[in-house]
């Protein structure tokens, strides 16, 4: 054991100088780790805050409830409520109407909950205590009480008017006041249940009943009995399952973000690695002297690892603080919605999990130690005499032992891609990517050694020298390109994935938007509908050749599953492939089979539906049997969707309302005139949107691009880190090759020629890295598309290589890397190298 004082002295002797010599580089590496850690911390904190807030908010909705009866959007008949209330096991019941209303004058939605405050008080006395003076206000049929989050968000106060679309018109609600701050955390408004039923066109319907049972009632057994009383499609569940189900929708998305953050941290470790390689090189003779004067190999390794750990502690601490700040700022200014819209109705405070922060802190340090260990071991292994004589560096790098391990990792990774999702998450898919990435890094030196001799020998002297230099130092090249390969491959993978997705979405939009004009009520919100009379008026508008109306509802298929969408529209069973973006063959049910349903691939994945299956869907409170006639691709409804023929839907439910209309124009009719005519015929219906197909396409693609904006930001970080790796590596080279540059200057090479030589080296190295990265990125993109995305979100897409973007990026990266190489090697061009030839240690 080394005593602390000895270690300190040693540190002083061996390390302080290095820091003093080049504080800039040291801090850059520190910043790299800090960046990785902070990204991880920020993403995690934002997600954790969102999730925590979300759970609290969902819990706040249900209160101290034993069971929750929940229906789909269309709800269930209110007669269920007294029936349940009278059950002897039930101590208290609280009915509710829950609906998201589109607000007029903005593009936002607000959740409105109609409650019976008297009933709610039995379950949530605390809530009522805070609302004591507001209950009378609440009973006013126009009154809505806003949560603080909603009031802040809408910029409203008591006395203001809230306008929302119902049907095709807008209603006005009076903001009677704000709910107590403790009441609800999410953006929502509370109305009296009677007002909600009436004003939001939900007469006779409820969505939810909360139950508290008498003490001693066996909840599970009662739940089972209660389930048999409920209409089809109405479920009874526990609040925990409610919270779980609400959170489950965003689970895969959150995992994706966490993984991206981990990648940043992983890349950060390369920085430490290359910085340490550089710093060890620089102090090579120094260490040799220490070794000669009696420092043991182990002590040297320990010293260097300690340096890495120290850098890790500093970088990690900085990263945690930075990440915390970023998260706080993000939450303050942008909310928790990281682009996917999962958490847009809550405005959480920063929720800090000390455990998670500690984990990221330790992870940062661990990555640093790992990054420092490899150069440390190498430094320890080097014979002092050799180092003293300043012999060729490649000497000790000759052996390539890692190759078989790398191959094994890649093989294992490829095998992992065949595994199914674990607990609904593509964990093995991510493992596959990690393994393939790691494996590739391990085989890089071998790969480089194989590829380098194939480099052509140019005649231009600087290029010739560059080529000779690279051919002679595969190990250095491998180190230089590791960071590029890693970051570029991930970037390529994301680019291909996003490109494929966007391309598939574009094709899909073409398939699902065949008409000329589209109408929707209440901006497609839950309260929107066209009455039969309005439908007739639309169909009879001059210039309209044909109309297809669509009714949209949702169905609850299980307590732990989010509801799936039910779309009722005219479908010709025999020609479904003409109207639906089917992924496979369709099948017309035989006469003795139940009527056809076409399910989205998400629904098919989640519920294991296959073409030809007979399935049960709870429509209009009845369990109806259907034959799965086809599976279609759907990028719009993430929790799954099913399409049935609208005539059948009307027969089952008697519901003749429609949410959307697709219009085909008569020959010769102009879009503009028809729009005008529709507006006139639907005068007063200010809640109707009329859009042309291209507008919808443009909006959809814009939303898509916004969703992926965050990934672009992460990619830029990754690329910067990759370039930093190049810089560090070339700085190291410039340092190790000072005498060589000195000789070249003596022999008559100009500074420019040396710059060109370095530039050529940069181009070769980056070109190699980009090439390998491209190949690796392609493989990873396949995993992203066919494994990660499929298992996370259950949607398929067609591979689409954005060649132009890839080529442009590759060229840009090579150019940037080359510039970086020249910049990093600028020391090789200054006067000091001239004296290096006479340095004699």
């Amino acid at each position: 054991m080394m005593r602390a004082a000895t270690l300190r002295a040693l540190f002083h002797a061996a390390s302080a100088g290095a820091l003093h010599d080049n504080p800039g580089r040291f801090f850059l590496a520190l910043l790299g780790i800090a960046l990785g850690v902070s990204l991880g911390v920020a993403v995690h904190l934002i997600n954790a805050s969102a999730l925590n807030e979300f759970s609290l908010a969902v819990r706040g909705l249900t209160g101290k409830v034993d069971l929750v009866i929940r229906g789909p959007r269309a709800g269930f008949a209110e007669e269920l409520y007294p029936k349940v209330a009278r059950l002897p096991q039930v101590q208290a019941v609280s009915p509710a109407v829950e609906i998201d209303v589109p607000l007029s004058g903005s593009s936002d939605r607000l959740k409105l909950i109609g409650i019976d405050p008297f009933r709610m008080a039995m379950i949530q006395p605390a809530l009522l205590a805070g609302m004591q003076n507001q209950i009378t206000d609440l009973l006013d049929p126009d009154a809505v009480l806003l949560s603080h989050a909603a009031a802040d968000w809408l910029g409203m106060k008591a006395g203001d008017t809230l306008r929302a679309y119902v049907g095709t018109t807008s209603i006005e609600l009076k903001v009677a006041g704000l709910l107590p701050p403790s009441a609800y955390r999410q953006r929502l408004g509370v109305m009296d249940i009677a007002s909600a039923q009436w004003r939001l066109a939900r007469l006779g319907r409820l969505n939810r009943i909360d139950l508290r049972l008498h003490p001693g009632v066996d909840i599970a057994a009662f739940r089972h009995d209660l389930a048999t009383l409920l209409p089809a499609g109405v479920i009874v569940t526990t609040p925990d399952v409610e919270v779980e189900r609400s959170a489950s929708v965003s689970r895969a998305y959150r995992l994706n973000l966490d993984m991206l953050a981990l990648v940043a941290l992983f890349t950060g470790a390369f920085l430490v690695y290359s910085t340490q390689v550089l710093s060890v090189l620089r102090r090579r003779t120094h260490f040799a002297l220490l070794r000669v004067t009696g420092l043991t190999r182990l002590a040297l390794v320990r010293l260097l690892v300690a340096e890495g750990a120290l850098m890790g502690v500093a970088g990690s601490t900085l990263g945690v603080v930075l990440g915390y700040g970023v998260a706080a700022a993000m939450l303050k200014h942008f909310g928790t919605d990281l682009g996917a819209g999962y958490f847009d109705a809550i405005s959480p405070a920063l929720h800090v999990e000390p455990g998670a922060l500690a984990l990221f802190w330790l992870l940062g340090i661990a990555f640093c130690v790992l990054g420092a260990t490899l150069p440390a071991i190498e430094a320890g292994r080097r014979a002092p005499a050799l180092a003293l004589k300043a012999k060729d560096e490649e000497e000790s790098f000759k052996k390539q032992r890692a190759m078989p391990y790398g191959m094994a990792l890649i093989g294992f990774g490829l095998a992992c891609t065949q595994a199914p999702a674990l607990t609904g998450l593509p964990l093995l898919g991510y493992l596959a990517i990690a393994l393939i990435l790691l494996g590739t890094i391990l085989i890089l030196p071998w790969l480089v050694a194989v590829l380098l001799p194939r480099l052509p020998a140019p005649r231009f002297p600087p290029a010739l020298l560059a080529t000779a230099q690279l051919k002679a130092s595969p190990r250095h090249v491998a180190i230089s390109i590791t960071a590029i390969v890693t970051s570029f491959s991930l970037m390529v993978a994301m680019l291909i994935m996003v490109g494929s997705f966007r391309n598939s979405l574009d094709h899909w939009l073409t398939r699902v938007l065949p008409a000329d004009l589209y109408l929707r009520a209440a901006r497609g919100g839950e309260t929107g509908f066209f009455t039969s009379e309005e439908q007739a008026r639309i169909a009879g508008t001059p210039g309209v050749a044909s109309v297809r109306f669509l009714r949209s509802q949702n169905l609850l298929l299980g307590p732990d599953r989010p509801p799936i969408s039910l779309l009722a529209r005219p479908v010709d069973a025999g020609a479904a492939h003409h109207t639906l973006p089917l992924t496979g063959p369709s099948r017309v049910p035989r006469a003795d089979e139940p009527p056809p349903v076409w399910v989205s691939e998400i629904a098919a994945d989640l519920f294991q539906y296959h073409v030809g299956d007979h399935i049960i869907l709870p429509i209009g409170g009845q369990a109806m049997r259907f034959t799965v006639a086809g599976i279609w691709r759907d990028y719009a409804r993430q929790t799954g969707a099913a399409i049935i023929d609208r005539d059948l839907y009307i027969r089952i439910t008697g519901d003749t309302l429609a949410n959307d209309a697709a219009l085909w124009l008569a020959a010769g009719a102009s879009l503009q005139q028809t729009r005008q005519a529709l507006r006139e015929r639907l005068r007063g219906a200010d809640g109707i949107d009329i859009a042309e197909t291209r507008e919808i396409r443009a909006t959809s693609l814009a939303i898509f691009d916004r969703t992926f904006a965050i990934t672009y930001a992460l990619e830029i970080v990754a690329v910067l880190i990759g370039l930093f790796g190049v810089s560090v590596s070339f700085s190291a080279q410039a340092l190790a090759r000072r005498r060589e540059f000195g000789v070249l200057r003596h022999v008559g090479m100009t500074r420019r020629e040396i710059g060109i030589m370095l530039g050529c080296e940069g181009i070769w190295v980056a070109g190699l890295g980009v090439g390998v990265g491209l190949a690796l990125g392609w493989v990873i993109s396949l995993i992203l598309i066919h494994v990660i995305n499929r298992q996370s979100f259950h949607w398929s897409m067609d591979l689409h290589l954005p060649w132009l973007a890839l080529a442009g990026l590759a060229a840009a990266l090579v150019a940037a890397a080359s510039a970086t190489a020249v910049w990093s090697g600028r020391r090789a061009m200054d006067r000091s190298v001239l004296s290096a030839v006479r340095e004699d240690w």
Partner: protein
Amino acid sequence: MLAWLAGAFVAPRTFAQVTSNQSPVTSHSFQYPLEGYQSQFAPVVPGYQLRFPRDEGSHPGFRTEWWYLTGWLDVPDGTKLGFQITFFRARLRLDDVNPSAFAPRQILIAHAALSDPAFGRLRHDQRVARAGLGLAGASRDRLEVWIDGWTLHQVGPGYRASISARDFQFDFTFAATQPPLLQGVNGYSRKGPDPESASYYYSLPQLKVNGALTRNGKAQSISGSAWLDHEWSSRYMDKDATGWDWIGINLANGGALMAFRMRDRQGGRFWAGGSYRSPDGVTRTLGVQDVVFTPRREWRSPRTGTAYPVSWHISAGALAFEIEPLMDDQEYDTRLSTGTIYWEGAVRALQHGKPAGSGYLEMTGYWRPMQI
């Protein structure tokens, strides 16, 4: 007697609108045909002829209404307890055109309390619900009012109350031993100098109580005597009144005394009234000048710091009684449901120190002045 509680519950604002005879105006984009639309609450006017059992039922055209049962119970072990069961009905607004089954046309509130000297203070519970969907309501034709499992209804010639509270359960029957006692002038009972400030009001004193009382999971059969007040009004309290004292006593000789006074801001008498029915059935209505409440002893609540005159000297016409509580602490905290604290409890009536009857005393407005 807790009419103002219901009033407070349904909000000062609405109340103010109603008292100024304005129907609240709201704008609706949906217009539904109105059924039984009234431009104002039914007024209380002199000359109305009360009929039974019809008038035992609810009067939804009026703003507030209550059925108020108080009494003394004899438990087998010899102890005496006080109990109170109240159902309030409050009508919120007049132009309620909302077709929803949940439309809050009528709000029902029920209170139940048990005074047990061995426990030292009240045990009580409450229910609030909007009428509708069969879960809560009040019949128009006969006495039948309920919130979930809490019920008070006519059974044969008598009544039955079934209350399942947190700490106790009542399952009592009440048998009338006397005809209804119409208060005021044939049931038209004024509450202030303004003739519109009045109620329809009758009492059923000397009710015989039988049934079961469950405490701590143990049921005991009980007997006793009770008093039922049924009162409905659209404008109960004058805006200058701040609270009241009310007492109803079943006299040991079979007679019955009801006396009340409304207090003004200075704590003095704003209005007063009452009635006395002698054992032989002759009723004498007491005027403002006939009723004098004189406090004898105050008790201060350790919880709220409010002082209540729990012991009184009351003179009602020719009669005079000393009033002593069954126990001092019968303070009733209903802030959670109705937002106020008052004193409501079993009392003994004494004449020259000798027991003369038992009844209930209610004192409001001592905690905080009532605000409208």
